[in-house]
Amino acid sequence: MSLEEPTPEDGAVEVLPTEGDEIAELLGDLVVDREEHVNAPGFVIRPDSVQETLRRLRDEAGFDHLSCVTAEEREDRYESIYHLTSFDDRQREVSVVVPTTKDDPVSESAEPVFRTADWHEREAYDLIGIEYDDHPDLRRILLPDTWQGHPLSQNYDQDRPQIVTLKEWENPLADDHREDAGDTMYVNIGPHHPATHGVLHVKTVLDGEQVADVDPDIGYLHRCEEQMCQTKTYRHQIMPYPDRWDYASSGLLNEWAYARAAEDLNDIEVPEYAQIIRTMGAEFCRIASHMLAVGTFALDVYGDFTAIFMYAMRDREKVQNVLEELTGQRMMFNYFRLGGVVWDLPEPREEFFELIRDFLEDLPEAVEEYHDLITGNEILQSRTIDTGVLPPEVAKSYGATGPVARGSGIDYDLRRDDPYGYYDELEWDVITEDGCDNFSRLLVRLKEVEESAKIIEQCVELLEDWPEDERNIQANVPRTLRPEDDKEIYRAVEAAKGELGIYIRADGTEKPGRFKIRSPCFSNLQTLPEMSAGEYIPDMVASLGSLDIVLGEVDR
């Protein structure tokens, strides 16, 4: 299997099939039927031609990014939807729809083509009940192994009792080693462990001191976010939930993901003034989130609870003060509304701008301090440089995005590549680093903090000069939203951890028929075994820290 992209020969610019008809031509008789999704053309194919279709799209049309796999149960069938796009041009999108019958929901696995499909399909099996042929390891991923039933399928009875076991974990490689090759040792890390950033469980097998096998076991914080969103109304009830997906202060970024998808679904235009406020707030969240990532990373790498961690917390407190002024909350902002934001900047505005300016003025010095303490520190350098290496092709195949992808030299940022909000009007750069290691990912985060500060500064200038009678914070949006039946959309934004996508299928009521969250942490975490094979345990922990996962978003 080749992960290489097709390269245009002799520098000739190759025109890749993008329009619906061109793709249909490429796929030929693999296509059984066509659909129109709001974001992309959809192609219905047979359940046994998944691999062939995806491979053709990847190799011949450059769709090298399997962003998300959505599974759902409809009245008369099961459906898996593969949302494909391209790392080079995010605005090219295509959906591959694979229906299967109710009595025999089996379809071919996409794992041999895109490695990221592994976990996505396990999740689909776990929550919906679709089975995938040719999948290397189809078992439950979020719910306990002994769970009965598939909770997001129709007719699931939520009141039936369930039994969950508490067992000693076994060494999965115990019987696997050759006769005289010596034993492997099993090390259990988590789910309650300070190095796992929450309730992650990492089953690790050591051969000597080297990591022979890592299996991240997730689901210890699976709190039914998708079910919650499916039982709430579009207009007001869903918005508080995104704050709780990636709770490391990325609230506004997550809210934007939902807002963007729902606004495009309902054709809502957001006033420019509100877009600027959104952009500014979102970048503050990104700073807070990266600060936490940097602080806890240093904590992981050299157990430093007193200096860097506290510095990071100090700066986060400042950001939270600004956000609290703006939204009234320290963490769970609930500040966006479909069509805008809930209220204007706090009065007196000058004081608010003053607060932001103070923060921005102090920031360069603070960042300098981080560089002195962390990136310029030889201990940290020798712990992180050339450990946890993630080559770009592997990262792409696992659907890694955000700082993890950019640390592997992949120039991919939705704020620029699929512009939304006010980003395309502002001056800023996408940061990439070519080291592919833990150190690069750290550098990307620190540099992104500075870029975010640039964006905020420009937003503040715009907001200061905005004419008073044009401060329109919300579009006119009806009280109840009922998008047409069967309208489907997949939209993503660049959250702090990467591409945060939302798939919504409307069913003609005021609640979504299916609400699927594509979490960047979920895909990024999948790369952990790749990064840590053959490394020492402390390097594995450093890699885990550099991925900056938040379990609330991994498990949803």
């Binding site: 719910l143 306990p144 192994d145 002994t146 769970w147 009965q148 909770p151 699931y156 939520q158 009141d159 039936r160 009792p161 369930q162 039994i163 969950v164 076991t165 508490l166 067992k167 789910p191 309650h192 462990h193 300070p194 950033h197 929450g198 309730v199 689901g219 210890y220 914080l221 699976h222 709190r223 039914c224 976010e225 079910q227 919650m228 039982t231 508080p240 939930y241 704050d243 709780r244 709770y247 490391a248 202060s249 936490l292 961690f309 506290m310 917390m313 100090r314 986060r316 407190e317 939270q320 320290r330 963490m331 769970m332 379990l551 609330g552």
Partner: protein, 236 residues
Amino acid sequence: MSSERDTPFVTDDTQVQTETRDARMTGAGADNRFNSKLREAFGSSPFILTKFDQFMNWVRGSSMFMLQFGIACCSIEMMHTYSVKHDLDRFAAGVPRASPRQADVIIVPGTIVSKFAPRMKRVYDQMPEPKFVVGMGSCTISGGPFQEGYNVIKGAEEVIPVDIHVPGCPPRPEALIYGVAKLQQRIAEGESSPVTVKPYELEQFDDLEQDEIVEQLADQIDEDDLVMRYNWADSP
């Protein structure tokens, strides 16, 4: 001893020491740098008369080791409570320990789901007695915003006893500090929390009542495996 004899020299060292100390600390012109609360309460006497259990309660409340235990969103605010600005350490309760065997207090900061509850119970069981629990956030009270979820335990109290509930989603650091201070006060006053019935316990699989689901799982689970059984229909 020798003090009865009228000698020009004082030979009792102890007495000299006591007098000097008293002069320094309590007498006229006492050095006002010795101003601890304890001294105000007890004077300079090296003895404190109290009941032993009262003393122990006071000690317990004044030096609490917290378990470093992060679950969900609330744990971010918990970290802020430990760190600069809010600094829980000022209230004699800020040393996060990574191992349950060294901890006195567990703050449960987040949503508990079916897969995690048995592990949390295990961690709680590993803490040495006496141990205290602060439930942080609405999730530990009722399941919070996720109360209707198919996988969510409707409050920490279903699994372990909780001494103090701090409501909020998430509670502000100030609120958590208040909760911890309340706990310290209760401990110092020797109050214990009421015994609650916990519906979800760890039990052996073959002790479960035989019914449909137990039969279905019989070939997957060993008889002496520990399990937790959730009767969702009876949950609040």
